[in-house]
């Protein structure tokens, strides 16, 4: 392997990891909100279903979920999926898994808002959706930043699990280089990549937290 190949592989890996990270958030942040609504639904069967879903997502290893999503279509339905399905399966599994965790974080935030806020909004004539969008949710966001930061940092590291499906993300590439080169430099670079990525996430989340510091309760 030339140095150029190595750099190219790692750069591709970094981009793939970033992509998994980004699309997982884009999918799971809104889906998590729906999960929290389902978990708090007045309709009992919806509540039970969502509870069951969360218990599976939290109660089994993400790596196992990746395999089920990847092999499921063929082993369950005999569907032949193309090469591209590796990345799709990764995203499906990640989004479903993270939506469950985000859902519980949203729920904890929503349930922590005092009843008086709902009552004040009701008396002032806000509709239910106005109450949620204008009054409740902005306050929820402020409250859930710390647990969200934790979860997002975990996601950065979890992207390495896509390795198991042969997705060419950072860790997959580093491992291929290490086995061909016989030294650990690629792992060192991968380590620095994840560390720097998370430092950036922590920095951004700190800024977000500061942006919400213009009031306290």
């Amino acid at each position: 392997m030339t140095l150029e190949t190595i750099v190219g592989m790692l750069a591709f890996g970094a981009l793939t990891s970033l992509m998994i990270f980004f699309f997982t958030l884009v999918g799971s942040l809104p889906l998590g909100l729906l999960v929290s609504f389902g978990r708090m639904s007045k309709i009992a069967p919806i509540r039970w279903l969502v509870r069951f879903y969360i218990s599976i997502m939290r109660g089994t290893p993400l790596i196992l979920q990746l395999f089920v999503v990847y092999f499921g279509p063929f082993l369950l339905f005999g569907l032949q999926m193309g090469q591209d399905y590796r990345i799709t399966a990764t995203l499906i599994a990640f989004i479903l898994n993270y939506a469950a965790y985000f859902g519980e974080i949203y729920r904890s935030g929503i349930e922590s808002i005092p009843r008086g806020q709902h009552e004040a909004a009701a008396v002032l004539g806000y509709t239910r959706s106005q109450t949620f969008i204008r009054i409740i949710f902005p306050q929820v966001l402020k409250r859930i930043i710390p647990p969200m930061t934790n979860e997002i940092i975990t996601l950065v590291k979890d992207t390495a699990l896509a390795f198991t499906l042969g997705v060419a993300e950072m860790f997959t590439q580093a491992r291929a280089i290490v086995s061909s080169q016989g030294n650990l430099i690629a792992f060192l670079i991968a380590g620095i990549f994840y560390y720097a990525f998370n430092a950036l996430v922590a920095f951004i989340m700190e800024r977000v937290e500061k942006a919400f510091a213009y009031y306290h309760e």
């Binding site: 008086g116 009701a122 002032l124 004539g125 106005q130 306290h216």
Partner: protein, 258 residues
């Protein structure tokens, strides 16, 4: 000839239970335009629950609730409580305002946004007009220069005055106060009582649940004494305080004096 006054609020034979405990038994009362009514009574007497039922925060289990002569909740033949449609209730909500014991301001909104958000987004009124009125209301509440402050930067008394301004901004026909000074330090109650006194002088229709007996006697046209979910006695404020008829009211007033 006496001028016929209209009942803004009318409650007839209201009943309300929480589980097995009935907290309101057969309550009837009406409030006329321009009247200031104080509701007093020991804690647990049902006075706050009555206010919460009148403001649709709790559902009655029996009786009739009317605003401006229009029944919005009443029992059907089976004795089941039937409320008007969500649309009607939404309109009714614009007739009253409620000032909470613990303010319940929106902490993420500035003072001015707390006051203007509902008129703009619920009543869909023009922003410029709402803003001008809100400024005037804040001035009236002695909060000039505070429009950009956040609730957390204000004292309890200032927060409660913002919440009164917020309620008034929707131009309610009747304003309810649920123990508006109970969450405040004693030295801050005066500023709230002053504001309510001003509103009374302007003949704002008000129902005030309060522990401030001398204030009730001074400001209210009528006082209602509740105990154990019943209206035990009601009458002209001064008569009721100076010359109580029922034993329970006498005991209650004596306890407050000592």
């Amino acid at each position: 000839m006496s001028k016929k006054k209209t009942n803004i609020l009318r409650i007839e034979h209201a009943r309300k239970s929480f589980g097995e405990t009935e907290v309101l038994h057969d309550i009837s009362l009406s409030v006329d335009t321009g009247e200031a009514v104080a509701i007093i009574g020991p804690s647990g007497s049902g006075k706050s629950t009555l206010l919460r039922c009148a403001t649709l925060l709790e559902r009655l289990d029996g009786g009739i609730l009317s605003y401006d002569g229009q029944p919005i909740a009443q029992s059907d033949e089976q004795g089941q409580m039937v409320y008007a449609s969500a649309k009607v209730l939404q309109e009714v909500r614009m007739k009253f305002g409620l000032v909470f014991q613990d303010f319940n301001l929106f902490p993420h909104y500035s003072v001015i946004k707390n006051v203007t958000d509902a008129p703009i987004h619920v009543q869909k009124r023009a922003k410029s007009e709402v803003l001008a009125e809100a400024e005037a209301l804040l001035n009236k509440m002695g909060l000039q220069g505070k429009d950009k402050a956040m609730p957390c930067e204000l004292s309890g008394g200032q927060q409660q005055r913002v919440s009164i301004a917020r309620a008034l901004a929707l131009k309610p026909e009747i304003l309810y106060f649920d123990e508006p000074t109970s969450a405040l330090d004693p030295e801050l109650t005066g500023e709230i009582l002053r504001v309510i006194r001003t509103l009374a002088a302007e003949h704002m229709t008000m129902v005030i649940v309060t522990h401030e007996m001398s204030f009730a006697r001074e400001v209210a046209d009528r006082i209602i004494f509740m105990d154990e979910g019943l209206i035990v006695e009601q009458g002209r404020a001064k008569d009721l305080v100076d010359n109580p008829q029922h034993e329970r009211l006498k005991t209650f007033l004596n306890k407050l004096e000592t």
